[in-house]
Symmetry: C2
Subunit: 324 residues, 2 copies
C-alpha cells in the first residue's frame, strides 16, 4: 500500500480535490478549472479521473423510498436479505454480466468496509473481476483475510489468489492475511493437524470474527465451469462424488445441496473454506452472482442462509423470482 506522505502525491491530491469541488460542486467546465489551477484542460481531465478512481469523489445513487426496484423488493421479501439488482440487458453475454455486476460491487464496497474491520475474501473468477475494479478507500487497522486455500496439485495457488487479495489490500490500505494451503487436502487428518498450528489457527480465528465475507458462488454442474472445477483442484472421482451427493454449488470451496444442507459431503472435510456454521456468524455476507448458470447454486446458498447481501444481474434476479 502507498501511504500518502509523498509530497508530490499530496500536491496532486490537493489539486484533484479542488478540481473536484469546482467540477462537481460548482459546475465549472474543465477549461475554466484549468485556468484556475494554471494547467491544461487535459490535466484537469486527468485530475478528475484520478479523483474518481481513488475514491476522492464518491458518487452515490440514492434509493429515495421507492427505488428498491420491484425485483429487489420481491427478493428481499422472499429471502429476507438485502438485494442489489444490477441492470444488465438480456442480450449481454455471461462475461459481460459478470463484468458489470463486478463493477457495481467494486464501486459500492467502500460503503460497507471501514476502519477496524476484517473482511474475508474468497477467490475465483467473480472475486477476480471485482478486485480489478475496487475503488480505493483509506482505512486503518483493517484486515483482508483469505477465506480458503488456493493451492492444488500443480501450484501453491499463491500467485492467483494473492493477486486478488492484494488488490483489495492496497485499495483499502488493509493488512492482507494469506492462507497458504491447498484448496483441498488429500487427507482430512492433515487439515486437522494444520488447523491446530498457531500460524494457521490465527487465521481461522480471524475468519471467525470477520465483519464482512465477500464471495461468489461455484456451480459444478452447469454450463460454465468455474475455476475450482477447471483449474485442477478436483479429480474426476471427486467430481463424481459431488454429483452423487447432489451438490449444486459451493462457497469458498465448501459444498452444499439444493436444500442448503452440507452434511455428509465428504469433500468438505478436506476443504479449507470456512464451515457454514462459522460463516453464518459473520454479520454481513455479500454474495455476488452473475449469469443464469449460477441459478441453482444461488438457490442452494439462499436455502443455506449463507447470504445477507446479494448482488445479482437483472435477468438472473428475474429468473430467481419467477421460478422459485
Amino acid at each position: 500500500m502507498t501511504v500518502d506522505t509523498d509530497p508530490v502525491q499530496s500536491d496532486r491530491n490537493r489539486d484533484a480535490l479542488t478540481a473536484a469541488h469546482l467540477y462537481y460542486m460548482q459546475d465549472l467546465t474543465m477549461d475554466a478549472i484549468a485556468q484556475e489551477l494554471h494547467t491544461s484542460r487535459s490535466s484537469v481531465s486527468r485530475l478528475l479521473s484520478h479523483a474518481r478512481a481513488t475514491g476522492l469523489v464518491d458518487i452515490q445513487i440514492k434509493s429515495p423510498l421507492d427505488a428498491p426496484s420491484h425485483l429487489e423488493q420481491q427478493i428481499e421479501a422472499r429471502f429476507q436479505i438485502t438485494a442489489h439488482v444490477v441492470p444488465v440487458p438480456d442480450s449481454a453475454s455471461d462475461v459481460d454480466r459478470l463484468e458489470r455486476v463486478a463493477l457495481s460491487v467494486a464501486r459500492i464496497l467502500g460503503r460497507y468496509f471501514d476502519s477496524n474491520m476484517t473482511m474475508g475474501i474468497a477467490w475465483g473468477s467473480t472475486m477476480n473481476a471485482i478486485s480489478r475494479h475496487v475503488t480505493p478507500k483509506q482505512t486503518h487497522n483493517s484486515q483482508i483475510v483469505q477465506l480458503n486455500g488456493a493451492g492444488n496439485m500443480r501450484t501453491t495457488g499463491l500467485g492467483y489468489a494473492s493477486e486478488i487479495l492484494g488488490r483489495f489490500g492496497t485499495a483499502f490500505g488493509a493488512h492482507v492475511q494469506q492462507f497458504p494451503v491447498p484448496a483441498f487436502f488429500d487427507n482430512p487428518a492433515t487439515k486437522q493437524a494444520l488447523w491446530r498450528e498457531r500460524s494457521i489457527s490465527r487465521l481461522i480465528d480471524m475468519q471467525a470474527i470477520m465483519d464482512i465475507a465477500l464471495f461468489g458462488l461455484g456451480s459444478p454442474f452447469s454450463g460454465v465451469i468455474s475455476r475450482v472445477y477447471a483449474g485442477g483442484y478436483l479429480e474426476q472421482a471427486e467430481f463424481d462424488e459431488l454429483s452423487a451427493a447432489r451438490v449444486v454449488g459451493d462457497v469458498a470451496t465448501v459444498f452444499y445441496r439444493a436444500d442448503g444442507s452440507a452434511d455428509g459431503i465428504a469433500l468438505n472435510e478436506r476443504s479449507t473454506g470456512p464451515d457454514f456454521t462459522v460463516l453464518r456468524r459473520t454479520p454481513r455476507r455479500i454474495c455476488v452472482v452473475a449469469g443464469h448458470s449460477k441459478l441453482a447454486s444461488l438457490r442452494g446458498a439462499l436455502a443455506a442462509q449463507l447470504i445477507t447481501d446479494l448482488f445479482v444481474d437483472e435477468s438472473t434476479a428475474r429468473a430467481l423470482i419467477e421460478t422459485a
Copy 2:
C-alpha cells in the same frame, strides 16, 4: 410540494435510476444506455440531468484525512467551528463569489437536513442565491421556519421571503412556516404584544427548538449594501443609530458589534429576528459568507459565537486568517 405518486413521474424516476446506475456505476456511454432503455441519447442525457438535479444521484467529495485544506484547519483551530472553504479564484467578482459559494452550500445542505428536523431560514441575497440551487431531498415531518420578518414600510415582504422559503420547502418536502411581520416594528411594544399572540408565539417556539439555522450576514457599513439596508427597511436616522452604536453586522436583522456584543443596540428591540441567546441554543448554525466586504461582519459574528459551521470563499477565508 409534489408527492411522488404520479405514475409517469415514477416511470421517469425509475428510468433515471437505471440510467444513473449504468452511467455512474458501470461507466456505460449514454449511447449504450439509450439502447438499453429504448430511447434516444438525448433523452438519456436529460434523464441523467434530472437524476442529478433531483438528488437521485449524490456526488460527494471525501476529505481523506488531510483534505481539510490548510485554511480550513486554521479557521477551525482558531474559532472552534467547522469551516468549508470554497475555492474561488481571486479574480472573481463578488457576485461570482456569492453564486459559487451558494452553489456549494446548496449542494451540501441535504447532508445536514433530514426528516423530523426543523430548519430556520433567514432571507437576503445570500439566502436567495442558495435557495435557487438547493438539491432536493425528500424528508418527512420536517419544517422550514422563517427567522425574521421581511415586511417594510412599502410591502409586506411576503413575496420575496416566501419565494426563498418556498424553494427550500419544496426541495425538502418540508412544511413552510412563514413569519408575516415587518423586519422591524416601529414600536417595541407592538412586538411584545404580538409575540404573545398564539399564532406568532407558535413560530417563536419553533425557532427555539430548531435543529439548524441557515443565514448570511449583513454588513451595514461596507461597500456592498445588503438588502436590509437598500430595501427600505431602515431610515437614515436608524442607520445613524447603528453607526453610533458601532454596529458591524447583523444576523437575521439582529445587530452586533465587532466584539460580538449586542447589548444596548436599541434597534434590536424592534427587530423580529431571533435573540442571540436563543440562536446560540441551535445545535447547528450555518453561516454563509462571500466577499471581503463581509469580513468585519464575519469577525463580529464569530466573536458573538453565532456560527458553528461556516461556508466562505477562499480569498475571504484567507483574509480572515491573515488579519486576525
